[in-house]
């Protein structure tokens, strides 16, 4: 059933209107595709559901960063002001969570932000400067005002002619084969 050609990355087609690409995406999702994507100049409201995407995993790294930051802040202030060089200031305890709280708070936010920022890059597998899509002549228009659905060859359902016909039945224009 699968005549997989290793040199083919997938097939692509374009849409001009948001509603068209939105409903086409719902049909691709219902047909059970796994390796495909919708390229749009801006995030379309509700497209995650239309594609059947799960919730983004980025918050996990945010939480991890935040917890790391909190512990780092506690350890940093405890080690410096109470363990390695303890100072008595106003007869107060060497370390408590109160006096260095601004420092711990800022460390928590800083590390959580790092987790979020790098999480976005990690889960999006970026930076990646070389991708077969960049060779498509009409791909440059996708960041402007065109919408594109790409069905990838590594999906078990992929069959060059059938996939092309499928895109045609969705109302896609400029159906193109993407070569690796």
């Amino acid at each position: 059933m699968n005549e997989r050609n290793e040199r083919i990355h997938g097939v692509a087609c374009t849409f001009r209107k948001v509603s068209d690409v939105f409903h086409a995406a719902e049909k691709v999702r219902d047909a059970g595709w796994k390796n495909w994507d919708v390229h749009t100049p801006f995030p379309i409201h509700g497209m995650d559901q239309a594609m059947g995407l799960p919730r983004s995993p980025v918050p996990r790294l945010t939480l991890l960063g935040g917890v790391t930051g909190f512990i780092t802040g506690c350890l940093l202030t405890w080690y410096m002001n109470s363990y390695d060089y303890p100072l008595i200031v106003g007869g107060k305890p060497y370390w408590s969570v109160i006096f260095p709280f601004p420092v711990i708070y800022e460390c928590t936010i800083l590390f959580a932000a790092f987790g979020t920022f790098f999480g976005q890059f990690i889960f999006n597998r970026l930076p990646r400067h070389n991708h077969p899509l960049f060779d498509l002549p009409n791909f440059a228009r996708v960041s402007d005002d065109t919408f594109m659905i790409v069905l990838e060859a590594r999906d078990p359902q992929f069959h060059l002619d059938e996939s092309r016909n499928f895109l045609q039945s969705l109302g896609g224009q400029e159906i193109t084969v993407i070569r690796d």
Partner: protein, 469 residues
């Protein structure tokens, strides 16, 4: 920004019977502009040949920035005695300028983070420029405390690093909290600004015609392909960064106010300082956003994307926060009178009628009285007047910090140790030059990076809704 998918098929049946009225909303983008128009407009600013006004402004900005360079060179080669600081006023223009610039930065984060969480869609037209303003303002702010340490080559002692003295930084000091707050603020603001820009850098990359443009913007765009799988993570990360920046921006100016509030000086030792400083920061920052955006709007003819609705909203925020600041001034007086503390009472009477009375009344007239003009629609629609009022607000907020810092230190407890502070020419040079430094950075930003967030503007235009046909 993860929204629930509102499907029209799940409409309650009652809605068909009662036919609720469609509430008209002010359009965010006028004249029904399409996606391609937005791309052309924003990329056009970066792609056009460098305009003459830009070259002239850049030259002027470099010249003005050289004043900071001269001031700092003289300071470092001679010593901090060249600033007007002496007992009893050990904090003068240095801390005034620091708080002034940090405060200006806060409106950028408010627009990009807090208004994002509140789903204020009008923020999209101004958030990129406001975030750039934040970062550049924090860079200007950082100059002052860094050089105020005296021997600037020991500036790294502020960081929790091992040094040859074998001692560590003291985490009980609000000044050390400031180091953490401001450096975290700068880092997170930069990450937020850059991440939001990646899709737009991809647009400029895709339109690039020369190889160096292609290389430069490809590098910055990180290979962004604008697939929805990428957008999904991007949107989540953006929302989370907005959620992290919101408590951050509130904490930063709170900690800046702790520099004063934690001490025992009359006029400083008050619990009202954190909210009062945050309101003042937002107030001055919005004034600065309008000061920058009104000329840019005129130069680049951005009237369709930054329209009267945006300007109205910003004027109303200035009015609201200006009134809050005025309320804080009044509360300070009331608490001083009510406290029964003679030093506290004296500090406030002295602010208004003592040796710095002129600074106090400049502050009140610029910060409390001028913004009241924004009650009038006619004033909000007269953009030259709006611009002038914003300049007044900027001046007033600088004087607020001057009044707080200098009046309290110059006349505190013992009259025998009172004094009068005035800046030297070195102070004036250093501060004047920071406006040039700020302008140099902002002009480079206008020329090389997308001034408006294209993806977000497209997202708020009516044709972006998948349920319209």
């Amino acid at each position: 920004m993860a929204h629930a998918h509102d499907s029209s098929s799940e409409r309650p049946a009652i809605l068909d019977k009662v036919r609720p009225a469609e509430l008209p909303r002010s359009p965010l983008i006028l004249n029904n502009r399409g996606f391609h128009w937005i791309t052309d407009k924003v990329c056009g600013i970066v792609e056009e040949e460098t305009p003459l006004w830009w070259k002239i402004m850049f030259g002027v900005a470099l010249f003005v920035a050289s004043f900071t360079f001269i001031g700092l060179s003289y300071l470092v080669s001679t010593g901090t005695g060249t600033w007007g600081l002496r007992s009893p006023v050990g904090w003068g223009w240095a801390i005034v300028n620091f708080v002034f610039w940090v405060g200006i930065g806060h409106a950028g984060t408010l627009i990009s983070a807090i208004l994002c969480l509140l789903r204020q869609k009008w923020r999209t037209s101004i958030n990129r420029a406001a975030e750039a303003m934040t970062i550049f303002a924090v860079m200007c702010a950082g100059i002052f405390p860094l050089f105020h340490v005296g021997r600037v080559w020991f500036g790294w002692w502020l960081l929790p690093l091992p040094n040859q003295n074998g001692i560590w930084v003291q985490f009980r000091s609000p000044l050390e909290w400031d180091v953490f707050a401001v450096s975290t603020y700068f880092t997170v603001s930069t990450l937020f600004w850059y991440m939001g820009m990646i899709p737009d850098l991809g647009v400029i990359r895709d339109r690039a015609t020369t190889w160096w443009r292609k290389a430069f913007y490809s590098l910055l765009a990180m290979g962004w392909r604008s697939g929805n799988r990428q957008w999904s993570n991007f949107e989540m990360a953006y929302l989370l960064l907005a959620g992290l920046s919101t408590p951050l921006v509130l904490s930063v100016h709170t900690i800046v106010s702790f520099d004063f509030a934690v001490s025992n000086v009359p006029g400083w030792h008050t619990t009202i300082f954190p909210p009062y400083f945050v309101a003042g920061a937002i107030f001055s920052g919005f004034a600065m956003v309008l000061t920058l955006m009104l000329p840019l709007r005129a130069i680049y003819r951005l009237h369709d994307v930054i329209n009267q609705y945006h300007i109205d909203n910003m004027c109303k925020i200035i009015l609201a926060t200006g009134t809050m600041v005025g309320y804080a001034y009044a509360t300070e007086f009331f608490i001083a009178a009510y406290s029964g503390n003679v030093y506290e009472k004296f500090a406030f009477v002295n602010r208004a009628f003592g040796q710095y009375w002129w600074a106090y009344w400049i502050m009140v007239s610029c910060n409390v009285i001028t913004p009241q003009l924004f009650w009038f629609k006619k004033v909000r629609e007269n953009h030259s007047l709006v611009w002038i009022i914003c300049l007044f607000v900027n001046v007033g907020m600088w004087f607020e910090r001057f009044v707080i810092t200098c009046t309290s230190l110059a006349n505190d407890y013992l009259p025998s140790s009172w004094g009068y502070y005035s800046p030297t020419i070195v102070d004036i040079f250093t501060f004047f030059g920071t406006f040039g430094f700020f302008s140099v950075l902002f002009l480079l930003f206008i020329r090389f990076l997308p001034l408006l967030p294209m993806a977000e503007l497209k997202m708020v235009s009516p044709q972006a809704d998948p349920h319209t046909h």
